[in-house]
Amino acid sequence: MNRSKDIIRHIKSLVPKDKQVRIMNVCGSHEHTIAFSGMRSLMPENLEIIPGPGCPVCVCPESDIINAIELSKRDDVILVTYGDMLRVPSVKGSIRADGKNYKMISSPFEAIEIAKDNPDKRIVFFSIGFETTTAPTAAIIEMGVPENLSILSSHRLTPTIMEILVKDTELGIDGFIAPGHVSAIVGANAWNVFSEKYRIPTVVAGFEAENLLLGIAEILKQLKEGKPATGNVYAGVVKAEGNVQAQKIMDKFFEVADVNWRGIGNIPGSGLELRVEYSKKDTKKVFGLAEVKESKIPGCICGNIILGKAYPNACKLFKKVCTPRTPKGPCMVSMEGSCNIWFKAG
């Protein structure tokens, strides 16, 4: 307790008196800690902590969800995916409410078990998320997956979206709290571009409130000294080079692609698709899936929330018709979604 108080005092001494400082976190678990610890209530008024694109199911394009729902309706298919993904709404409903043959998994290895247990079915693993979930999916392909299993890849790249955001002058980001789990895979060095090219301090932090406070203090110190760098206050877990083995197998099976982000649109080089050599494992190719045009959710501003351009309570649906029980937009579904977190943290 006292240590947190000390760091907060330190933060207050480091914040410039005369200007607004905007620090963005890009990880749902970070936002969770920030909201649930009441951290914003302790920060100086001119220091904003903005939740950014940290929620994998939130950015998953509607097209992939609709394709997943349709696939699950086929008698020869079992769709498997992570729990949160089942509840994300689309114009055609959600997988849970409107799909037919689907199973929830918490690890890609369960997808293999389901494929083995159902040799007469075609198993579609709807694999979503940032680098943290891409790595285990690559790992099961490396180990060898059953013939009847294919992968509907909806993976997204964290550094790419962060680079889009840093270029947005309207947002005016002064510093990034880099995501702890993603950093464990890609390595702290993956963020060097932000300090070197854009002069934006970027500090890897863990998930305890105290560790996040340390990260914020480190960003402020770099800003004050005018020496932006890649910092790491989570060095016990995150190495500079990251998990090289994971990076190798991700690169072996996946290639960078221009992909859609829900509520945002197409971002060049921001996603991962299976390489053409592995087309037999690529659900989109195996089933000949077509891209479905995204429909707008009336009133929903998830896209702006993901980009850090609006806080959840700026949405007119928030807490009124959009609640964790009746989510209208993707950000209200997952424990990593900013709207869901703000709803629960009060």
Partner: protein
């Protein structure tokens, strides 16, 4: 910040049109209250019902008041670490009486059993009922049995009704700014034990439900004048009880995360599952509102009882704001509201 958002009144109507019972209507939280206000209180209007306390106070004659309460138990699974539906059906009803300032005396028990239910399981449940009632000093005085066809029930449901003699009338009107909030032990144990017992999560941990009759520990507190109000935080947990307290009194409640007793393993598991122990069910804990002067004495007496060894002072009643607020470990503050979503349905 750019925010563009519109929703028409018609859209709102369509979106809000919830005309069926949902699982959350049984959560003890916001939806349950909506149901009580919109349906039950619309037709059921007795003065005794109105306070919506855990037990009703009824006059027997000028000098004697009785507390009456009823509760139905639909927990899944029926057997869980630390108890079973039978033990729970006695403890829950005994606790509702004692937190109403009554000495629990008599219970009735009604069974709704599904065709095909194993006789040995029924016997195990009834044996638990007998043992728990005996150790709590209450008598089972009448009962009822109904059987429904296979697949028309879920094993067994139990209803118990309890009657006690009120010796310490508890009234929220007595609660005032400056009072202290005490919890009799660690929170979230029952919710966590049941969640693990359901085996929906692949977790191996030895957390037991706190399911226990509290009358032995709480009755001695009736003699302390400063004890003003008690409630057992079952469904909806500590947070829901304190939000209700705040709404009923118009006062604020500030609780401290640092002082909240939570078992280390419970905290770890709930972090992982994304639940907040403040909203998880307890079946052997009470929240006590006491005057500041009496709080030390209350804590001392609680700690002298095996069920109260982890008792802690967790907060204050204040007139500075309305609602429930949590002072976090790092010293931040956030508002706690009633849960809309049901974290774990059929927890009791």
């Amino acid at each position: 910040m750019v925010a563009v958002s519109t929703v028409t009144p018609l859209e709102q109507d369509v979106l809000l049109n919830m005309n069926k019972i949902e699982i959350g209507h049984g959560s003890g939280g916001k939806l349950t209250r909506d149901l009580i206000e919109n349906i039950f209180l619309k037709y059921l209007k007795s003065d005794e019902l109105k306070p919506l306390e855990d037990a009703a106070s009824i006059n027997l004659d000028h000098n004697h008041k009785a507390a009456v309460t009823t509760d139905s138990y639909v927990i899944r699974p029926l057997f869980f670490p630390g108890g079973n539906i039978g033990k729970l059906s006695v403890c829950g009803t005994v606790n509702d009486l004692v937190v109403s300032g009554a000495v629990p005396k008599y219970l009735t028990v009604g069974f709704i059993i599904e065709e095909g239910f194993l006789m040995k399981d029924l016997e195990e449940i009834v044996r638990s009922i007998s043992e728990t009632a005996e150790s709590a000093g209450v008598k089972i005085v009448t009962g009822d049995t109904k059987v429904v066809e296979k697949n028309k029930g879920d094993g067994i449901y139990i209803n118990t009704t309890g009657i006690g003699e009120i010796v310490k009338p508890m009234d929220l009107k007595n609660v005032s700014a400056g009072d202290k909030v005490i919890i009799t032990g660690t929170i979230g144990d029952h919710g966590t034990a049941v969640a693990i017992a359901r085996e929906e999560f692949n977790i191996d941990a030895a957390v037991e439900s706190d399911c226990a009759a509290l009358n032995g520990m709480l009755e001695p507190l009736f003699d302390i004048a400063g004890v003003k109000w008690m409630r057992d935080p079952t469904r909806g947990g500590v947070a829901t009880v304190l939000v209700e307290l705040s709404e009923a009194t118009g006062l604020g409640v500030l609780i401290s995360e640092e002082d909240m007793p939570v078992r280390e393993d419970v905290r770890f598991i709930q972090d992982m599952l994304g639940y907040d122990p403040l909203y998880l069910a307890n079946e052997g804990k009470a929240i006590i509102i006491t005057s500041a002067e009496s709080s030390d004495r209350v804590l001392e007496m609680l700690k002298g009882h095996p069920l109260g060894k982890d008792a802690a002072l967790i907060g204050n009643i204040t007139a500075d704001f309305k609602g429930l607020r949590l002072k976090t470990i790092i010293g931040g503050e956030r508002v706690l509201d009633m849960l809309e979503e049901d974290t774990l349905p059929r927890i009791c």
